[in-house]
Point group: C2
Amino acid sequence: MSEKTVAILGATGVVGQQMLQCLEERNFPVGRLVPLASERSVGKPVTFRGEDVPCQLAAADAFEGVDIVLGAADDATARALLPEAVKRGAVCVDNSHAFRLEPDVPLVVPEVNAADIAAHHGIIANPNCATIIGLVPVWPLHQAAGLTRLIVSTYQAASGAGKPGLDELVREIRCVAAGEPVGESAPFQYQLAENLIPQIGGFNEEGYTSEEMKMQNEGRKIMHLPELRVNCTCVRVPVVRSHSESITCEFERPISVDEARAILEAAPGVKVVDDPATSRYPMPLETSDQDLIYVGRLRRDLSAPEGVSSLTFWCCGDQIRKGAATNAVQIAEYLV
Amino acid sequence: MSEKTVAILGATGVVGQQMLQCLEERNFPVGRLVPLASERSVGKPVTFRGEDVPCQLAAADAFEGVDIVLGAADDATARALLPEAVKRGAVCVDNSHAFRLEPDVPLVVPEVNAADIAAHHGIIANPNCATIIGLVPVWPLHQAAGLTRLIVSTYQAASGAGKPGLDELVREIRCVAAGEPVGESAPFQYQLAENLIPQIGGFNEEGYTSEEMKMQNEGRKIMHLPELRVNCTCVRVPVVRSHSESITCEFERPISVDEARAILEAAPGVKVVDDPATSRYPMPLETSDQDLIYVGRLRRDLSAPEGVSSLTFWCCGDQIRKGAATNAVQIAEYLV
Ligand SMILES: NC(=O)c1ccc[n+]([C@@H]2O[C@H](COP(=O)([O-])OP(=O)(O)OC[C@H]3O[C@@H](n4cnc5c(N)ncnc54)[C@H](OP(=O)(O)O)[C@@H]3O)[C@@H](O)[C@H]2O)c1
Ligand SMILES: NC(=O)c1ccc[n+]([C@@H]2O[C@H](COP(=O)([O-])OP(=O)(O)OC[C@H]3O[C@@H](n4cnc5c(N)ncnc54)[C@H](OP(=O)(O)O)[C@@H]3O)[C@@H](O)[C@H]2O)c1
């Protein structure tokens, strides 16, 4: 495998930092690393394979000679810069929302639709983190029984809001422990420590948030199910890392709990952790800093109407790794 | 209104302490207060109307001359002692699970089925806290459109596990803030700070927890809907006080979001807090220490199959007040 020049757009953020670690861990053939960030970070070193590499300014000419760009910046930065990288011959795997729903941009969870990667025109999008974490276990069940409806309630970690979110929860927990007022809570709308915030992103006219609509719109595109019915409620919870989801899925065809368990046990990217007798189930503290989606609490949906095939389960995964950095590096592996 | 002798069984616990405050706030006609607890607390004072009243040992003869018992102890204590109180002429309103499903015991949320109180034989049961918080808004929607199916994911506070749960979360948050290991997490199965635990109670053969089955079994009894289909996932979250719930309800008849909103705005015990434009929605920090169930994020269920009437919303309520103490005192008010 020939070595590649790899740029990370947003190398100082939580996803960018995790990308560096994933490239190292997975022995990605990086010949030269080009860490890019805003002018705030120019010259600031990032560590890769034990060496400090200074950040450069993210600007069009920084992509000269770059083979692969891993995008870990905000939507506006991605929209402004990734087309410049493509013009200069790079292929981009982007974590922002900017290109995800564009018809000529593949939106990929490798366990689900790796075959879509080949159709790219220079940009491949990484899906929303909660969507990736939900779809990794939903997809093999869909293949077996034909998914018709998804009802999801999420429990999303502070670091889903990037480094500012992570730092803010840590700060608030210190305030609360010290009995001090928390004050201004940016990037969150309200205090998150000891609280729950049922808003991630902005609202549409129907009262759904942008984060909630991603589960529907990205889910439909990734699974090639343009009519899939999805109801999602996204809630920010005072957890540092790893998103969790309570999922109910309805299917066209009958599927028993035992069949579903066997399918999930064999599914790529999934680890079944489900033993009520010993109180074993997925929890964010145990799923952080690894790449599998843990699935448990698998059971029959007791509310399913007569004749409706429906299952319920709970899953957790590290949204910085499989929900972002690892998924992007996996896609990049298909490119080399 | 003649004054009553009121005993509180479990007067030192979080629910018992809140009952004292509710009796005071609501000007309940308490002539004499009899605080009861275990031998650990005998002689320990509780404060009522500015005066210290020493706890007595909870034993059969402590109920002599008592008119009303408010039960705020565990199932075993309730099962052992409340029949003794009834024998001595008292009427008991009990918060434990012990009697809730007994056919001759009314299970009451006053906003839903106050009429059932009259049929009591000495014991009236207070429902599970998550069930009360969900049913206060679900009931008026049911009356309008005929509830057929409930899908609920809960976000339950540490103090739902009583004083030990409350103290443990406070302790763990201090450990986490100080960077110290949390160690043993009783009464929780695992560390709760910065984590989520998808288990409340024990598991049945189908993989549902006892807390989850309460939503079905108690919900059916309270609403007189013996066939109601309920799917509940109960999760403990690192919140001190106030339970939250993500609820999807299917109905027999069409009901629009606007109709539902008007119904909820007029419903007893409900406060609609739902303004996406200004990021207003229920949150546990804002719903603690008051008696209403806050409802928001009301919207059409985008996943509803063709022809199925379905709504989704989010609600929060103080599970120590409306989920326990206030609900019990409201029932006692019907008795006097
Ligand atoms: N956090 C997650 O769990 C997660 C999961 C999936 C997807 N994502 C997506 O991944 C992307 C990165 O998220 P994050 O959580 O890593 O955010 P973050 O921690 O806030 O990091 C943002 C990164 O973007 C850089 N950046 C900001 N403005 C820039 C500009 N004008 N020009 C160049 N670089 C700029 C920052 O550099 P400076 O240090 O110089 O400001 C930093 O490296 C976002 O699109 C996010 O939606 C995040
Ligand atoms: N916490 C909630 O949010 C909530 C909501 C709805 C319903 N409930 C139910 O309400 C009841 C009380 O819960 P809680 O949260 O208040 O629990 P808690 O804080 O642990 O208090 C338990 C109370 O029961 C007393 N008690 C324990 N063992 C006893 C014994 N052998 N004899 C007499 N009294 C005894 C304790 O007295 P000592 O101080 O002497 O030990 C204490 O007063 C439980 O059945 C619970 O399921 C609780």
